[in-house]
Symmetry: C2
Subunit: 417 residues, 2 copies
């Protein structure tokens, strides 16, 4: 039985695109048919409390639902900065995974012109890009000194930034937001450095927080980053109770340190692992820590990342070697729709293990990063990647002799010496 709050569920990573490309939230719906076909009973409603000893949940309406096994997958909610003066003004939005809210948000900004997006993570960047396509005047503000700071080293982020600027977005980096100002509706945003920007609407895209209220109510342990504690099998401390997805604890693949990177793809892997270990434990199917593989696209250009960036790896304390190669995603490069493909590889200098990969490319970059992700997951070294076979085709990939991922590996390998 799947108990869920939302009648209609949004495809989470598709949300920014309802503001432009897909045009309406109704086209971004996660269908229920696969669930129902698989024999899942879907109930719309909210669970109010869980009694782990009695093995039962209580719904808002007072209904009692008993369980043998319970999986908490409550997801995450946009971070709303309580400290930010003016964040309660009209036309200040966040980006929740909620169709009703999103439809209202979209309707309200329809006739507004100047929109400020706060936070240049993937969602902020994608939303800004969609809004500018709809002829809004968009300003994107990022506190860190670069866009997409969690995902990319600065040289890759600069490429993304220049694409955003090309497309008409005003990008301001290295500056935080001090307050929002206006009568009823927001009228302007005041930055840390004193600058003021006119704003008909403000979108706060400042991250998400795990939904752990329900878990806390039944005394499940919460970790220091605010996620429900789980083990390798996604089990909480209470027998038969699992947690998965954005609300569940994540650890970095290499360091095993707690991580707060929430991704649908990680959530899906966790879900499979929980399901496969629900009734009997498997030695083969455990969660090996988050590699944080993700990607975005600005126009025809994709930006993808897997594992640690150079700056993350360095600050963790790894001695690293990096390699960069810029090639083309078809061969010869004169073929129609060929796109630059630039790959950066970050590896351990000690043993050559690949720690991270960043890619600028065309459409195929979104799958190429999964090649990198699988290499990381298998703890492959630069040497083993150099002897790896890669399939190529003129219309589909870089050339076998100039395949950017392998050439970047080669460059990193030379830098290991």
């Amino acid at each position: 039985m799947l108990y869920r709050k939302e009648d209609i569920v949004m495809i989470p990573c598709g949300i920014p695109y309802i503001f432009g490309t897909t045009k309406e939230s109704g086209k971004n719906v996660l269908p229920d048919a696969p669930l129902k076909n698989a024999g899942v009973e879907v109930i719309i409603g909210e669970i109010e409390s869980i009694d782990c000893n009695e093995r039962q949940c209580k719904s808002e309406s007072g209904e009692l639902i008993s369980f043998d096994k319970l999986i908490i997958a409550c997801g995450s909610t946009p971070y709303t900065p309580g400290w930010l003066e003016g964040s309660q003004l009209d036309n200040v939005f966040v980006i929740p995974k909620n169709k009703v809210y999103l439809d209202q948000f979209k309707k309200k900004i329809e006739n507004l012109e100047e929109i400020v997006v706060v936070g240049a993570g993937f969602i902020g960047v994608e939303l800004a890009d969609e809004l500018v396509k709809g002829n809004k005047k968009v300003t994107l503000i990022e506190k860190m000194p670069q866009v997409l700071p969690a995902a990319f080293d600065s040289e890759i982020a600069e490429d993304a930034e220049s694409k955003l600027i090309e497309r008409g977005i005003q990008v301001m980096k290295g500056v935080g937001v001090k307050k929002l100002d206006g009568q009823n509706s927001v009228e302007k945003i005041i930055l840390d450095n004193g600058a003021e920007i006119k704003a008909d609407a403000v979108v706060l895209s400042m991250g998400y927080r795990p939904n752990t209220e329900l878990a806390e109510k039944c005394n499940l342990k919460i970790n220091d980053l605010g996620f429900i504690q789980v083990d390798e099998y996604m089990r909480t401390g209470v027998p038969g109770v699992f947690a998965i997805g954005d609300c569940a604890e994540k650890r970095d693949f290499f360091t095993r340190k707690l991580s707060s990177t929430m991704l649908a793809s990680t959530a899906c892997a966790e879900a499979r692992i929980a399901a496969m270990n629900l009734y009997s434990l498997s030695i083969l199917k455990t969660f090996s820590g988050t590699i944080a593989i993700y990607s975005t696209a600005i126009g025809e250009t994709s930006y993808s990342t897997a594992g640690l960036t150079e700056s993350q790896a360095s600050s963790e304390g790894y001695q690293i070697a990096t390699g960069i190669f810029e090639g083309v995603d078809k061969h010869p490069g004169c073929l129609p729709n060929a796109h630059k493909q630039k790959v950066k590889v970050i590896a351990s200098k000690e043993c050559g293990t690949v720690l991270g990969v960043e890619i600028i490319g065309g459409i195929s970059g979104g799958e190429l990063i999964n090649v990198a992700g699988l290499a990381i997951q298998n703890k492959m070294t630069l040497a083993s990647l150099l002897s790896t076979q890669i399939g190529t085709h003129p219309l589909l990939t870089g050339s076998p002799a100039g395949y950017p991922l392998i050439k970047a590996v080669e460059a990193a390998w030379k830098n290991c010496k």
Copy 2:
């Protein structure tokens, strides 16, 4: 020092496209700059003989070139069936990696209308598709009961065949060629079943044979399939003499049986391995046998393969389980340029090890097959793939919950029980 016959080198897998997409062979040239920048001296000419004892080669012009290490990378030549009556007629062509020949071939067929391509492997299929784009009337003949017989199981090949037919190619399967007929130029082709087809030109795309003449002259061992024998490090039996690429022995990744699949990507992996083992041997960098990862595109549809097909795996004697899933390569599926993505996974029933993957998709299929290839190379099992993290993005990949590769793995896993 690189000694080579051709003044200008064709990008091998780009050759079919000079007949349509790239329009001219001059746009399909492998540049020399990377070689020269790497400090390679390139000499145009032919080596006539090698004296392994004296450690020297003799060129056609009588020049003696001494060596410490020698790498034979003589490539392959199109198979020309000596037994085929009429194969010497005018306007009967093969597809060698030779710019001069290809330019003449292209010029000669310019005003010809009806062209028959014999052999529906990748090159035959691609050439037929390019010719039909140029408004030729094209017939494609394949002796085996399906197109692309070495790469795909019949259900995938049928999809490719229907695409070819849609695009105006007449496809005839399960029938061999008996003879070619004509006065000076070929006029018709007569099939095994007695059928006759009018032909202004015939292209024989019946496979390639390794170039081993030079190797035979200096008594290097040739294997039963006609390739130069090599070990895991691409070493021939003679100390300091290596062979790589189409002329060098290949073995299947799983069975270690001799293989005759020649691919540029395999050649590149072999080249790197030979180079990395030239002066001192490495435990880390050995050639693990050919996985045969390759792909093609017919219009917007890509067809990709890695490892063994179901029929190959079965006939080798593996107990197998397969899984198929058909999804979309973007999410939601209503996004522009979304393409069907169908994945077939073939695995060992005994241990779940992935033996092969076949994909029908859009542009991104060409990199998705490399995800599969890396899984095979790492001897990953269905179970480990089920707990693998895959990066996804609405505009770039299938959805995390419906990612066709993982869903096909899931289906195969269920079939393992």
